[in-house]
C-alpha cells in the first residue's frame, strides 16, 4: 500500500525521507564498482513495473491481485541493487501514476525495501546456505515475504498514526492491516517461490552469490528500525495523551498557532491570542473567505484558459 501525502505530517515525511536517502546513498556506495549492475537495475526496475501489472486469479475466490517483488529483487540482484531498484520504481510510480505521494516517498521507499532486504539476509539466505532445493526455496520465500510484509505494513501504520493526521486509532488500524497483509504475504510468497524455482531450474547462476547485508550493516539497520519504531510510538503517544490535550490541539490548529507550543497553552489562552476576533467569527470568516478564494482561483483559471485559447486560435 503506497502512502499518500494527505495523511503524513512534515516531520514523519522528513525523517523517513532522510532515512531513505541515507540507505540509498549507502547502497550506491556498495555497488559502484560493478558496472554491469547498472543496466541490470534499470531493466529489473522496468520488469517489476510490468510484473506488478500482471493480474493473477486466486482459484475459488475469483479475486485477483498483483505482487510487489521486494524478495524477488533481493534474490536476483542482491540487497543493495534491490534497494535502488525499489526506490526507482516507487519514484516513477509516484510521478507518473500519482501512486504514492512525493513527500511520502521516503516512507514508501523505506517500507518497501528495508523489511525485505533485512528478511532476505536474516531468513532467506540462511535457509538456502547448504544447497538449493525447491522445498527450501518455497519455505524461504514464503517466510521472508510474509515477515517482510508484516514489518512493512506495521511501518505504514506507525508512520500514519505518528503523523497524527488521521484520527484512526492505532489499535484498530494495526488489527486491520496486519491480517490483510498476512494473507497477501502468503499469496505473494507462493508466487515468489514459484518464480524463483522456475528461474533456478532454467538458469541457476542467476540466483548464485547474491550479496546480503553484513552483520555490521544489519545491526545498524535493526538499530535504526528500533529508533524509528520507538520514535514513532512515542510521537504517537505524545500526540494523543488524553482528552484534554487532544481538544487543545484542535483549538491550536484552528487558531493557527504552531502545534507543539500550543499544546501547552490552555484553551482560553489560545483563544485570547486571536482575541482581535472571537473564535466563532474567525471560523465563519474562514468558511466564507475560503469559498470565495476557491471561486476566485477557479475564475482566474478559467480566465487564463479563455484568453490563452483565444490567443492561439
Amino acid at each position: 500500500m503506497h502512502m499518500a501525502d494527505g495523511l503524513i505530517s512534515g516531520t514523519v515525511g522528513g525523517v523517513m525521507a532522510a532515512a531513505s536517502v541515507a540507505i540509498i546513498a549507502y547502497s550506491i556506495k556498495r555497488i559502484k564498482s560493478d558496472d554491469k549492475t547498472i543496466p541490470m537495475m534499470g531493466v529489473m526496475g522496468a520488469f517489476v513495473f510490468a510484473m506488478q501489472m500482471i493480474n493473477f486469479t486466486i482459484p475459488g475466490t475469483g479475486s485477483s491481485g498483483h505482487i510487489v517483488g521486494g524478495t524477488l529483487l533481493a534474490a536476483t540482484l542482491g540487497v543493495y541493487p534491490a534497494i535502488i531498484v525499489t526506490a526507482c520504481v516507487l519514484i516513477i510510480q509516484c510521478l507518473l501514476f500519482a501512486d504514492g505521494g512525493l513527500l511520502a516517498l521516503g516512507c514508501n521507499i523505506f517500507n518497501m525495501s528495508v523489511p525485505f532486504v533485512v528478511m532476505y539476509t536474516l531468513i532467506f539466505k540462511p535457509i538456502l546456505k547448504n544447497g538449493v532445493t525447491s522445498s527450501k526455496l518455497t519455505i524461504a520465500s514464503i517466510l521472508s515475504v510474509v515477515l517482510g510484509l508484516q514489518l512493512s505494513a506495521f511501518g505504514v501504520v506507525l508512520e500514519t498514526t505518528a503523523s497524527g493526521i488521521t484520527a484512526l486509532p492505532f489499535l484498530p488500524f494495526v488489527l486491520a492491516m496486519q491480517p490483510i497483509h498476512f494473507v497477501i504475504g502468503i499469496v505473494e510468497g507462493v508466487i515468489t517461490a514459484a518464480v524463483l524455482i522456475f528461474v533456478y531450474k532454467m538458469r541457476p547462476e542467476i540466483l548464485e552469490d547474491k550479496e546480503v547485508m553484513s552483520v555490521k550493516v544489519l545491526a545498524v539497520t535493526i538499530a535504526l528500525l528500533a529508533v524509528l519504531i520507538g520514535g514513532g510510538l512515542s510521537m504517537f503517544a505524545s500526540g494523543y495523551p488524553d482528552g484534554l490535550e487532544w481538544s487543545m490541539e484542535k483549538v491550536a490548529g484552528t487558531t493557527e498557532l504552531e502545534g507543539s507550543s500550543a499544546i501547552h497553552e490552555t484553551m482560553a489562552e489560545a483563544q485570547k491570542s486571536t482575541a482581535f476576533m472571537p473564535d466563532y467569527n474567525s471560523k465563519i470568516a474562514g468558511i466564507v473567505g475560503g469559498a470565495l478564494t476557491l471561486l476566485l482561483a477557479v475564475a482566474i483559471g478559467f480566465a487564463i484558459s479563455f484568453f490563452s485559447k483565444k490567443r492561439t486560435a
Partner: protein, 264 residues
C-alpha cells in the same frame, strides 16, 4: 494501478502532454522541480484542522493547469488512483473525531469533517501539482535537473533506464499475456499456478536484455561512469517568486482575511 495494457497508453499520453508548448512547458525544469517540492512540503505542513488556510494554495495548481492547458480529465483519472488510501484515513476522522467545531444554519460541523476535508484537499493539491510537473516537463529534463541537484549519476541513470524500459517490457509482458489468454479461455488474468513460469520467463528475458544492453553500452565506451549532459538554467527568479508567495500564504490566512473583509 492501471493494467498491463492501459499503463503504456497512460505513459504515452503523459509524454505527449510533456512535449507540448506553453509558458509552463518553457519554464526551466529545475525551477518546476524545486517549486513542486516546496509546494508539497508546505501543503503537508498545514495542521489538519486548518482548511481555510489551505484553500488559497489551490490557486497555484489552478494557474498552472490553465496556463499549461493540462486536460482536467487526465488529472481526475489519476486522482482517483491516489484517493483510496487518503479516503480511508480521512473517513476515519469523521467517525472518530465528533466534537463540534462550529454550526452553520443549525447544522453542526465536526472537527472530523473539517479534517476529512483538509486531508482530501491536501491529497488533491499535492497529486495535482506533481502531475502538472510531469505533464509539462520531459523526463529527460527532470533527470538533468536531478544530476544538477547532486543526486548520484548512478541513481539517475538507473531511474532513467527503468523509465526507458517500462514501455518495452510492458509490450513484452502484454504480448506474452495475450498469447497466454488466447490459449486459456475462461480464465481471467493468469492462473496462480502459472505465475511462476509466466513471471519467471519474463524475468529471464529481462535479464538477457540487460546483458545485451550492457554489451551495447560497452561497445560505445561505457566504463561504469555516467556522464551527464550540460546543465540547464535554474530559473532562480521563478523559484524565489513562487516560494515567496507560498511562504506568505502559509503564514497569512488569506481565506479569513477575505472573509472578514466581506463580512464587514
Amino acid at each position: 494501478m492501471p493494467s498491463l495494457f492501459s499503463a503504456g497508453a497512460d505513459i504515452r499520453s503523459m509524454e505527449s502532454l510533456a512535449e507540448g508548448d506553453s509558458v509552463i512547458h518553457r519554464l526551466p525544469p529545475m525551477a518546476k522541480l524545486v517549486t513542486t517540492l516546496v509546494y508539497v512540503v508546505m501543503v503537508v505542513s498545514f495542521n489538519r484542522y486548518n482548511l481555510s488556510g489551505l484553500i488559497p494554495y489551490a490557486v497555484y495548481p489552478i494557474i498552472l493547469i490553465s496556463l499549461s492547458q493540462t486536460p482536467y480529465n487526465m488529472l481526475l483519472k489519476r486522482l482517483v488512483i491516489a484517493m483510496p488510501f487518503a479516503l480511508f484515513g480521512g473517513a476515519a476522522n469523521i467517525f472518530f473525531d465528533r466534537d463540534v467545531a462550529f454550526t452553520i444554519a443549525s447544522i453542526a460541523v465536526t472537527y472530523g469533517v473539517v479534517s476529512f476535508l483538509s486531508i482530501m484537499m491536501k491529497t488533491v493539491l499535492t497529486v495535482a501539482t506533481v502531475l502538472i510537473l510531469i505533464s509539462t516537463t520531459r523526463i529527460s529534463d527532470i533527470s538533468d535537473s536531478l544530476v544538477r541537484l547532486k543526486v548520484p549519476p548512478l541513481f539517475v541513470l538507473s531511474l532513467m533506464m527503468t523509465y526507458r524500459y517500462i514501455s518495452v517490457l510492458l509490450e513484452e509482458a502484454g504480448t506474452m499475456y495475450t498469447a497466454y489468454s488466447l490459449r486459456s479461455p475462461n480464465v481471467k488474468g493468469v492462473k496462480i499456478g502459472d505465475m511462476g513460469v509466466f513471471v519467471g520467463q519474463l524475468m529471464i528475458r529481462s535479464l538477457d536484455r540487460a546483458e545485451r544492453i550492457y554489451a551495447a553500452m560497452k561497445c560505445r565506451g561505457f566504463n561504469s561512469i555516467y556522464h551527464a549532459g550540460d546543465s540547464q538554467t535554474v530559473g532562480v527568479r521563478y523559484i524565489a517568486c513562487v516560494c515567496g508567495a507560498l511562504l506568505v500564504l502559509r503564514f497569512i490566512n488569506l481565506s479569513e482575511l477575505v472573509g472578514n473583509g466581506v463580512l464587514r
